[in-house]
Symmetry: C2
Subunit: 160 residues, 2 copies
Amino acid sequence: MHSDNLSGAVNQQERLDAYIAGFVDGEGSFSVSIQRNPSCRVGWQLRPEFHVSQNPERKVVLEIIQARLGCGIIRENHSGTRDTSLVLVVRRRTDLALRVVPFFEAHPLMSPKHQDFLAFADIVRRMDEGVHLTTEGFFELRRLALSMNGGGRYRRIHVM
Amino acid sequence: MHSDNLSGAVNQQERLDAYIAGFVDGEGSFSVSIQRNPSCRVGWQLRPEFHVSQNPERKVVLEIIQARLGCGIIRENHSGTRDTSLVLVVRRRTDLALRVVPFFEAHPLMSPKHQDFLAFADIVRRMDEGVHLTTEGFFELRRLALSMNGGGRYRRIHVM
């Protein structure tokens, strides 16, 4: 009985995780923006970001994902003047490296967005190792970021 | 060993189903359009439809959903002149009643889109019983269709 309960709980968790992977495959975005930042050694900054946008009446799904990943903030999107949508955003590097990346490694996306995730995971991990702090390393990761093959709304690379 | 394999297969199926539910919660649509049709007894027609749209490079997800549900066709969307997206559409009433509705009853959506699904399922079931063939029944189902609380892109009610 105890074993059945445990197994049921595990299955429920697995279903929730798979549901989140499916939802994020449709609505989520793994992006690495490249921004001018004179305070950085190389004058530029790589900023990996995971986000999921939704209309306000569907906020509950963002809250479910936020609770499961244990990180991120939910805020207004502000991507357009009449945009009232909300967005769950994770930018903190330790959260990306220790929570977001391992989650989607364990629960992979099924669309080609998975390729973007793999590049994203690679960049996050190598930033964690400090690779981006040298000029050579920065340009290596920048190349990787630019190779991300989104071409759609889930790619957001700003080269300034 | 055999039992482990079986259990693994069941889990894999459950994960796929949960993934599809998550994906459809974000990208899918349950709608009932109301159309003028002089050949129908009441002069109008209710047309329930399940659909999921995607960019062509993400067609594989539509194929996964189509294969799992065992119904629907994938075609070009044609919702705008420059629209190149694809859409998986299920309109056949027996497919909706015997495949789509039972699937999302077993794997419920977590957002308020679930409310739309419940109304959709109710309409599909009652059409299956022939409720819409009487004037009274038609207007009852029409009221239900108009009550669907999408208010967004996943609501598509045409009153003509």
